[in-house]
């Protein structure tokens, strides 16, 4: 899906995706040192969904995420140092070392919370949307969830309620084909269309290539525009792929897991969302490789500094254990 985007927008998408990719990779690398003692679900490979959707939002819109939440947090301009510090269990973490990798918050940026229970925040996002609806505020709530959350009943309770009240809620399903190690075939009947399930609640849907940030952005922009005009909830399905293991910093093949093949991974890596956008900058926007590299190096430095500072940050005060 070729979109006419200004170089600036394309570069902005690239910058954000590159920042997420490298933050995750650099965190994952250090994660192997066993000093981040919190189960982390890295989002490498799924950056385009977060950036494509969040680039349509403002800070007064509300974003909710799930266990694989770093991408969404960062796409909402969540502070990198606070994310790293949260993983290191430091007082300067975004949840002051109480939440860990799966319980992030950055309320002033519109990233309300993430949580680790499947489907839980789908309903909570509908709560934000319900508040916007009751107060006639022009904001949108967005809930990111995986396709496995669509196996939880709460998603359908929420769709039903959102449809009844025409809530300003965007459901964003990141379909990466696997729930931990369980493939779709073990979890959803053959021929399942998650969009059709949403449509059965009279919720309009779109299905896009979740590795193409511009396609995701275009779809999300169309849907959020309709939502802001009072059109009610919408459902966006983004097909994508998680590169790393379900939880932890390694590739599955590095851990000798066989639930999916290395060939499958490599096929998806050829469709890398970050690399695709980089190609657009060079081929379609006449940016030079050197110019892009300069952008990349700036980002690398920002991440490196943030992680280094996080590791040196103070621990929480144990006297404050019982204090919320």
């Amino acid at each position: 899906m070729a979109l006419k985007s200004s170089t600036e927008t394309r570069l902005d998408f690239y910058r954000r995706m590159y920042l997420i990719r490298r933050t995750e990779e650099m965190l994952a690398e250090r994660y192997k040192e066993q000093e981040m003692r919190t189960p982390a679900h890295f989002g490498v490979g799924q950056e385009a969904v977060a950036v494509g959707v969040c680039s349509t939002l403002g800070t007064k819109d509300h974003v909710y995420s799930h266990h694989r939440c770093h991408n969404h947090y960062l796409a909402c301009d969540g502070d990198i140092g606070q994310l790293a510090a949260e993983l290191y269990g430091r007082e300067t973490g975004c949840a002051r070392g109480r939440g860990g990798s799966v319980h992030l918050t950055q309320k002033d940026k519109g990233f309300i919370i993430s949580s680790a229970i499947l489907g839980q925040t789908v309903a909570v996002a509908a709560g934000s949307a319900f508040a916007f609806h009751l107060d006639a505020k022009p904001y949108v709530a967005v809930t990111f969830f995986g396709e496995a959350a669509c196996e939880e009943g709460i998603v359908y309770e929420t769709m039903n309620f959102a449809a009844i009240h025409k809530l300003p809620l965007l459901f964003v399903c990141e379909n990466n084909g696997y729930s931990t190690e369980s493939p779709l075939a073990a979890r959803q009947p053959e021929g399942t269309s998650l969009c059709r399930r949403a449509e059965s609640f009279s919720i309009p849907t779109m299905s896009v290539d979740g590795n193409d940030v511009e396609a995701v952005h275009a779809a999300a922009a169309a849907l959020t525009e309709s939502i802001r005009k009072g059109g009610g909830p919408a459902f966006l399905e983004c097909s994508t792929y998680r590169w790393l293991e379900h939880v932890g910093p390694y590739f599955d093949h590095e851990m000798q897991r066989t639930y999916r093949t290395r060939e499958e991974l490599e096929a998806w890596q050829k469709r890398c969302p970050v690399a695709q956008q980089r190609t657009r900058l060079i081929d379609d926007c006449s940016m030079t490789d050197t110019a892009v590299e300069e952008v990349e190096q700036d980002i690398e430095r920002i991440i490196e500094d943030a992680i280094t500072a996080a590791k040196a940050a103070p621990w929480p005060d144990v006297e404050q254990l019982m204090k919320g």
Partner: protein, 346 residues
């Protein structure tokens, strides 16, 4: 000029709800059937009439709806969620326990407060059976981060509602259906009951009865009978399950040296056990006799009337156990009986 009137428990809840909704436009109430003409057993008549846009019927979706209440609170609202039977709150345990209870602590205070109030009504008798007559306070009180209160008298039904609807953290209010038609003095105006503070309902010297919710009514009846036998009973209305008022319980046991705990639920792993444990740990030296715990029979609630009669402790059950603590002879067969005027079907 007195500002006190007699109100039913249901009317007291209604009055508190209206007062709070008047004061705070962010309060809204929702749940299955809350806007019916029956008005949640009469506890939402005025609220429905005065705030029709802020009292909303919902589909059957307890878990998601609780999540919606949480999200609405995160976005600045103050939801009041109502379950006509507290048993349906089991469907919402994930949201209450895994998220609402954790909200303040797990996000390091950075995601703000979570002011949600959840009302659940406890059923009893009239053949409601095993899944419509449980009393689920100990389940929720187990988890740090949830406040759990059980108002017994109309003044506290109002006062605890006012406190809940101005609290910063989640509050679960468990109301007993058998209390709804009971009348009691209620002050006009904004008179909150503090969460976390028990009430000495009756002063006495020989034995302490700590009671929750409807068991307070039964304890009062037992205490009247015991008074005729020359036994002076102190009764503590627990009111707040979490936080639990250790101080008031221990002060009373220090005075009487004897303790019976009467809870509306099962004894095992429940509130009665928790109170007994606290007194054993912190007040053992005051005790002149072993602690007695009373609750429902240790089986699911039956339907048949004769089985129900055996399932619930009666005032005479309390009287007999207190008499036993004091080595006073007592014959249950001579105990007064109490007529239940309740007309079904609930």
């Amino acid at each position: 000029m007195t500002t006190q009137r007699n109100l039913t428990y249901a009317a007291a809840i209604d009055e508190a709800t209206c007062l709070a909704m008047e004061r705070d436009n962010d309060i809204f109430a929702f749940g299955i059937g809350v806007d019916y003409s029956s008005a949640v057993f009469g506890s939402m008549h005025d609220a429905n009439a005065r705030f029709p846009d802020r009292v909303m019927d919902t589909p059957a979706m307890e878990n998601s709806l609780t999540g919606i209440a949480i999200g609405a609170a995160a976005a600045g609202k103050r939801p009041l969620m109502i379950h006509l039977r507290n048993d349906f709150m089991f469907l919402a345990v994930d949201q209450l326990v895994n998220l609402a209870a954790k909200w303040r602590h797990m996000y390091g205070g950075k995601a703000g407060h979570l002011p949600i109030t959840v009302r659940g009504i406890i059923g009893r008798g009239w053949g409601q059976g095993a899944t419509h007559s449980q009393s689920i306070q100990s389940l929720f009180a187990h988890f740090p981060g949830l406040n759990v209160v059980m108002p017994t008298v109309p003044a506290d039904a109002k006062g605890l509602m006012l406190s809940a609807l101005t609290a910063e953290d989640p509050v679960i209010i468990l109301e007993h259906r058998s209390l709804y038609s009971l009348e009691g003095p209620v002050e006009e105006g904004w008179i909150p009951t503090p969460i976390g503070k028990a009430r000495v309902a009756r002063e006495g010297n020989d034995v302490t009865i700590v009671a929750t919710s409807f068991m307070l009514v039964e304890a009062e009846r037992a205490a009247d009978e015991l008074a005729k036998m020359g036994v002076s009973v102190e009764i503590i209305d627990l009111r707040s399950i979490r936080p639990l008022d250790h101080e008031t319980i221990l002060a009373s046991v220090a005075k009487t040296g004897r303790l019976l705990v009467a809870d509306t639920s099962w004894v095992s792993f429940g509130v009665a056990s928790e109170v007994a444990a606290i007194v054993s740990e912190l007040g053992f030296h005051h005790l002149k006799a072993p602690i007695v715990r009373l609750g429902m029979a240790d089986c699911p609630a039956p339907v048949s009337h004769v089985l129900e009669q055996a399932f619930y402790p009666k005032p005479s059950t309390i009287t007999a156990r207190v008499a036993g603590l004091l080595d006073i002879p007592y014959t249950v067969e001579n105990a007064p009986t109490y007529v239940d005027n309740f007309r079904g079907p609930y």
